[in-house]
Symmetry: none
Subunit: 249 residues, 2 copies
């Protein structure tokens, strides 16, 4: 059995069960626990899951407590969130997609700021409950348990009825030629609808995700008005975007 197959298998198990035990995987795949341990170690470094004593758990496992959600690459995401904050002005209407970077952004919103904020993300909505002057409007729909956002026709329908000033579009993969791509088809549909409902699209994106590709396309790079990364402006990774009509932060 190929290592890659095992990795996929493990990730799949984690996706389904939110957790796996080393010994279970070793049994199921007929390999030693050491091998599985090494696999999980690698997937942990790749931030595909979280290694814990005895097994691994899904990164999005905090189904239980979105408020206390642990965030990976927190440093980078915090920097991005700080930058993104600068784009928000008192009284605006914004739209926050899901994702931990946007969760960080929500957490950092000044306590006194007056905003209207649409979101389909459960953790973000919970976070925003603490901001007394932010009017939160939740996009209804079927809850996707993986991503903890609502999806489906009802949600897209609700999105079609709004027009916001800025959309902060959490981004899994951004590629200079292929644009934004996503693993989950339903989320693709949601993100397309969000872009359509927004006057300005801002994409907060940690640098690891630049250049990567997923299965489905959301939109081209030209649809994004602002790209926020944790990098310094002169970083070579950003060169590919420099002659495009996109603002870099």
């Amino acid at each position: 059995m190929l290592k890659e197959e095992r990795h996929q298998f493990i990730l799949n198990e984690v996706r389904i069960h939110n957790r796996v035990l080393l010994t279970d995987i070793a049994d199921l795949l007929n390999v030693s626990v050491d091998t599985v341990r090494r696999d999980i170690k690698e997937l942990h470094s790749a931030e595909q899951l979280k290694k814990v004593h005895g097994g691994a758990i899904s990164l999005g496992f905090n189904n239980y407590n979105p408020i206390g959600k642990k965030i990976y690459s927190l440093e980078k995401k915090s920097r991005i969130a700080e930058k993104a904050l600068g784009l928000i002005k008192e009284g605006q209407v914004i739209l926050l997609s899901g994702g931990t970077t946007n969760l960080e952004l929500a957490r950092r919103l000044p306590a006194k700021i007056k905003l209207t904020c649409f979101t389909p993300s459960l953790p973000i909505a919970v976070q925003l409950l603490t901001k007394t002057n932010v009017e939160v409007i939740f996009i209804g729909g079927r809850l996707s348990k993986d991503s903890q956002i609502t999806v489906g026709g009802s949600a897209i329908n609700m999105l079609s009825e709004i027009k916001v000033d800025i959309c902060f579009l959490g981004t899994n993969s951004i590629h200079p030629i292929e644009g934004l791509t996503e693993f989950d088809w339903e989320i693709v549909q949601m993100k397309k609808a969000m872009i359509h409902s927004s006057r300005k699209v801002v994409s907060p994106c940690i640098s690891e995700k630049i250049g990567s590709l997923q299965r489905y396309k959301i939109c081209g790079v030209e649809e994004v008005d602002v790209l926020i990364t944790e990098l310094e402006p002169w970083d070579v990774k950003l060169d590919v975007f420099k002659n495009m009509n996109i603002q870099l932060m």
Copy 2:
């Protein structure tokens, strides 16, 4: 069981009940109190909860409730939730309004049961994320920060498009003559819409609330099909309902 799972479980309990007892957690998880104590110690250092003598409490929320009263009320609500569970059958479509009793109900749904569940309540949606076979459909709308449910035209509109088998209508006040009443006008509108979208209306209600009155009327007692309280069937408090067309549990 993985340590991380215990931690999530404990945080979940804290999030829902605002407080937990070491001994309860130890019982529920079948581990020693020492282990739970250590878990809580770690979560305390991580500032995810506050460790107190005998257990732990939530960091941010309303800890103003006297501890003794809280658990008392919780026990009643748990009893009610247990009774309510009996009404739910595999494959049904249900609607859960907000409120802590319904949250208890959501928490107790069997892990394997297959259901479709509509709700406008943020805490309930979060809770239901853990039930893998429950399809959760969130009623979108403006989030009321007090009640943590969505309200307003958009939510009522979404409710108008559905018809569910059973609605569990968390009830603040039930009066034999005046019917169900509520303090908050927006919630009244939501509850009216929920009743309208349901074939059967079940009202879980702790006995303190029987006979009390609030500002606005939701509906008459005749609109409620089942009233669930923590009381025994022969309790005198229930007499007023006995010649009405309402099932008592």
